[in-house]
Amino acid sequence: MEPISEVSGRAIPFGRKNVDTDVIIPAHWLKTISREGLGEGAFETVKKEQDSVFTDPEFAGAPILIAGDNFGCGSSREHAAWALLDMGITCVIAPSFSDIFASNAFKNGILTVALPQDAVDRLMEVAQTDPIDIDLQSQCVTTRFQDRFEFDIDPFRKHCLLNGLDEVGLTLEQGDTIKAHERRMETDLPFLAKAVGTAG
């Protein structure tokens, strides 16, 4: 996972509420063997709407997405987070997120920033013409117009994002503890510690 400390650039002013994971990535894109390439399917139905911000060349390659309440509700598909990453989005700003989406986003190194609706409204306005800066270390979102909005984040998630640590990487650091458990199992519960029987 790539460490994240700052995200700076244009933001896609989407703003819609209750965006579910079927909107982020429709189900027919799930029959894939890769996390990559899903950006093409991201917001597939929204892209077909007239004057969609997702087809506006002004916002092509923008690293930030601004959305409305309850972003990422619906299924648990991790493809939603993968699709955003594939589009180049590493930060989503919204008044609130679904728990599962927020967790999947975190597990994939995407920063979710929850801000009050009025702050989000102001950022939507700025995003039309200017870039936005997010600083994870100081937990604030700023603009060139002296806007400054602070946000909360779970300290553990902040630490992981700043250092590019994923849960797999963190648990791998506990290799010795895991090894000790395996040794105990070999003595106490040897029949679980191996799966051989006659098949091995």
Partner: protein, 477 residues
């Protein structure tokens, strides 16, 4: 600190704690990991991109099931037939490459041991009582039937298990579903679990691990327990279990991956110690009288939309909750059904006997017992029986069940997930109705626009004969 009187779930949990964080999150060791082709490709890709390896390939077993067509896999010369759907073929090919390249044991589509991952695990003795078992599939709860703590995981969790053989988890609450008495003749474990889901609802087990207790489960076969535990997730519980007993030990003894010799004796002694202690308490308890359970079918698009076969479609207004009333209206509209219609008057055009819920030898026997000497109704367009594994298929053929099935006019297929989930060629057409022994009656589950009625294998066989939802007891006397 462990409690003095503990439940089966708590004992298994305690035995697998590798580390505990201050916030109560535990690093839990995973004893067995089953892998199939749909949810694993991205996890393998992530390992490859980060240069990570699989910590315990020896505790991991891969087998394809979801995408496989259930028609012949080889031609007359034994050469493998190609898979027409390119994306299915690609997912299957990815598993065939990924598993061996990470040192994981792989059962191929053309091997005799191939089958649905949740049938293969217990059948091979790979799944064991007291083990923690995961798979990227929510029906992993199934393995609780032999007394394992088994649950489904997402793709990042799958990668976590591959790389570390552990998962970061918070302990679930405990829930007891107690059923005493005896199931009436013609009432099967599938009817019972449908009835239970009807009682507790699809969110009844959320946040809990269910232990199925009482005389009915003690009397039940291992196949029956696997069927019950399989659908724990439809009741909202990530896992469900039945305490291992002499039946469990007899079922597992001598299976390919099961322990042997001194290990076996040690295993049995430990397994016997796992039963919930007298005095242990559950966070939630539901008691059901076996005498209340009838042959049960679903009429809607949620697994909690169940009714005894002798009843009629309920009216939306019969529900107190306005949101449920609305859901029932939408569901009946999708199903093309009217309130008040007798369930026995509902005609079905398709029959599916199979899936990880009901494709074991006992299920095939139950279907064959009904089909013997009878014929499929002409109005039934398509009726398939799909054994859960190559070994189930061999056993059924050795007993002559395939002959009974084909003579009745049903098709006898190759093992796989088949018409349970519309990821392979076995689908139910839009607007048509299927009596199905699978586990989900969701909108579009068996194909876009498909209408599913969940039933037991005996009830599905009875529907094949009459062309309508039928009380199997009236057919077989």
């Amino acid at each position: 600190m462990t409690k003095s009187a503990r439940t089966l779930y708590e004992k298994i949990w305690d035995a697998h704690i590798v580390d505990q964080r201050d916030d109560g999150t535990c690093l839990i060791y995973i004893d067995r990991h089953l892998v199939h082709e749909v949810t694993s490709p991205q996890a393998f890709e992530a390992l490859r991109l980060s240069g990570r390896t699989v910590r315990r390939p020896d505790l991991t077993l891969a087998v394809p099931d979801h995408n496989l067509p259930t028609t012949a896999r080889t031609d007359a010369n034994g050469a493998e037939l190609p898979i027409a759907d390119k994306q299915s073929a690609q997912q299957l090919a990815a598993l065939r490459t990924n598993a061996p390249s990470f040192g994981i044991r792989y059962i191929d589509a053309t091997d005799r041991e191939q089958g649905i991952v949740h049938v293969v695990g217990p059948e091979q003795g790979f799944s064991l009582p007291g083990a923690t078992i995961v798979c990227g599939d929510s029906h992993t709860a199934c393995h609780g039937g032999i007394g394992a703590l088994a649950f489904g995981i997402g793709t990042t969790e799958l990668e976590h298990v591959l790389a570390t053989q552990t998962l970061l988890l918070k302990q679930s609450k405990t829930m007891e579903v107690r059923v005493d008495g005896e199931l009436a003749p013609g009432v099967t474990p599938k009817d019972l679990i449908l009835h239970i889901i009807g009682v507790i609802g699809t969110a009844g087990g959320t946040g809990h691990v269910i232990e199925y207790r009482g005389k009915v489960f003690e009397d039940m076969s291992i196949e029956g327990r696997l069927t019950v535990c399989n659908m724990s997730i439809e009741g909202g519980a990530r896992a469900g279990l039945v305490a291992p007993d002499e039946k469990t030990f007899a079922y597992l003894k001598g299976r390919p991956y099961a322990p042997r010799g001194a290990d076996w004796d040690k295993a049995v002694a430990w397994w016997k110690s796992l039963a919930t202690d007298p005095g242990a308490t559950f966070d939630k308890s539901v008691v059901i009288d076996a005498a209340d359970v009838q042959p049960t079918v679903t009429w809607g698009t949620s697994p909690e939309d169940v009714a005894p076969i002798g009843s009629a479609i309920p009216a939306p207004e019969s529900y107190a909750d306005p949101s449920k009333q609305q859901a029932v209206k939408v569901s009946l509209d999708y199903m093309g059904l009217e309130p008040g219609t007798r369930l026995k008057d509902i005609a079905v055009e398709h029959i599916f006997i199979g899936s990880c819920t009901n494709s074991r030898i006992e299920d095939i026997r139950a279907a064959a017992a009904v089909l013997k000497g009878r014929k499929k109704a002409d109005s039934v367009k398509w009726a398939i029986v799909v054994p859960g594994s190559g070994l189930v298929k061999e056993q059924a053929e050795a007993e002559g069940l395939d002959k009974i099935i084909t003579e009745a006019g049903l098709e006898w297929r190759e093992p796989g997930c088949s018409a349970c989930l519309a990821m392979n060629p076995d689908k139910v057409p839009a607007g048509e109705r299927c009596a199905s022994t699978s586990n989900r009656n969701f909108t579009g589950r068996q194909g876009p626009g498909s209408r599913t009625h969940l039933v037991s294998p005996a009830m599905a066989a009875a529907a094949a004969v009459t062309g309508k939802l039928t009380d199997v007891r009236e057919l077989t006397g």
